[in-house]
Symmetry: C2
Subunit: 268 residues, 2 copies
């Protein structure tokens, strides 16, 4: 394994592959590739943000992408068509009640879905039923407890915790990423391998400062402002100071860290 790291004598060249992912899409999805002809269930495709990449990276696999929201399915279908991707079939469906026969799929892909479910282990067990023996499930989730930054700020932490609390009240878990191993284990999957994907942002990576720190993470927290105030989880001044502190981490001397967790496991 040691050889894998050794790219020569120049320490400048010895930067890890992890650091080379130029976009979040690369970081999360570039190593998910399915063999030609395999049938893959994407459970919870949302508006197709992942579907385009997933199906585009495995053009000879066949994807069935489902979501509980009719509107999301329609949006996903449009996104896939706009991208010229043709190997996806869409349908509306509830993960807990899909109309498939047992063992219908070679592989299953679940991204940013478990975080919203009150019973994630049950969902994983049900999905396992749709897999052929030896088939894989790939699960990707974020973890808001993995966010830390410079300058550190209690206000920023409290603003993030508003989102965590709102999601908890909706039955979800915004800190679920770290739990993928025990969740898959309890659901009976075998040979579970979890691979953390850390997004590290400093001002030498301006596309991530803009694309991740500002427009993805901080914008997401800012987006729960009204809900957090309405629910009495925070007051206006405290919340706004938190959002300002998050934007502060996007300045020239700021640093922002967040980790996604990607797991692959087998149905025995």
């Amino acid at each position: 394994m040691k050889e894998s790291y050794v790219h020569g004598y120049d320490p400048r060249e010895n930067i890890r592959l992890q650091d080379q992912a130029s976009t979040l899409v690369d970081l999360l999805h570039s190593d998910t590739l399915y063999p030609p002809g395999s049938r893959v269930l994407e459970a919870g495709c949302g508006v197709g943000a992942q579907t385009v990449t997933l199906a585009g990276n495995s053009p000879d696999a066949i994807f069935i992408s489902v979501d509980i929201s009719e509107d999301s399915v329609a949006a996903a279908r449009r996104a896939v068509e706009a991208a010229g991707v043709t190997n996806v079939n869409f349908m509306r469906g509830d993960i807990f009640q899909l109309p498939f026969e047992p063992g219908s799929f070679d592989h299953i892909f679940v991204c940013f879905v478990l975080e919203h479910l009150p019973r994630p282990v049950e969902a994983l067990e049900i999905l396992k039923g749709y897999l052929k023996g030896g088939g894989t499930i790939t699960v990707i989730e974020g973890d808001h407890g993995s966010a830390y930054f410079h300058p550190a700020s209690d206000f920023a932490r409290r603003a993030i915790d508003c989102q965590v609390e709102l999601q908890r009240r909706s039955g979800g878990n915004a800190n679920i990423g770290r739990e993928l191993y025990p969740l898959l284990s309890r659901a009976g999957y075998l040979d579970i391998r979890v691979s953390p994907r850390m997004v590290y942002v400093d001002s030498s990576r301006p596309e991530l400062v803009e694309g991740f720190t500002r427009k993805t993470f901080t914008a997401m927290i800012e987006g729960v402002r009204e809900a957090a105030l309405a629910a009495g989880i925070s007051d206006q001044d405290t919340f706004d100071k938190g959002v300002s502190a998050l934007y502060r981490t996007a300045e020239a001397d700021g640093v922002f860290c967040y980790t996604f967790f990607k797991a692959v496991a087998i149905k025995g």
Copy 2:
């Protein structure tokens, strides 16, 4: 860059290099290699824990390893001799007052040192003076704020914060890892690249459960028990509950995450 991630169609094979480091030593040091004949200053070698690996990995470079503690230097010398490594010269010395001419070194290596210094930017500036133009500095630091785990525990967090507070009172910063980019930038280094090295531990990695979660991180926190109680930072019951909660993360369904930061930068 995409090709770097693609190792075939089997999702089981598509696990990242980051996940393949079998030990902490591999994770932190396997990509630090110096060309034959280069002169490398290891500033703050301690008892030689890194020196053996560093010099062993670059057998044809010449290392000058210094530490402020005479006892540590003696221990480091014994460790290197015991390992049969012969390309290290040791001396006692204070980073802020070393007896070298400007531009004496091709490269500098600093590991787990800045976290203890009240003036880390000044230390980096002084070290820069000893580098030749175009030479590199490699800095590695941990960050206790990067620790999170399952099951989550406020008691565990408070026990960790005892160590952070004690280190702060000694003039150090146990959360310095995330700051390497701004620190090196303020010290005038160029082309700074920070590479986080996340240690992810679940029970599929028993050697890390034992070697990192239990015997490295939790043992370190446990080790400040008397100091934390004596300083009145925690009470006995609260601290002991925190340590128990950290050991709990080493059980079969537990997960532990910690990130080290490695930076390489150039003297312009």
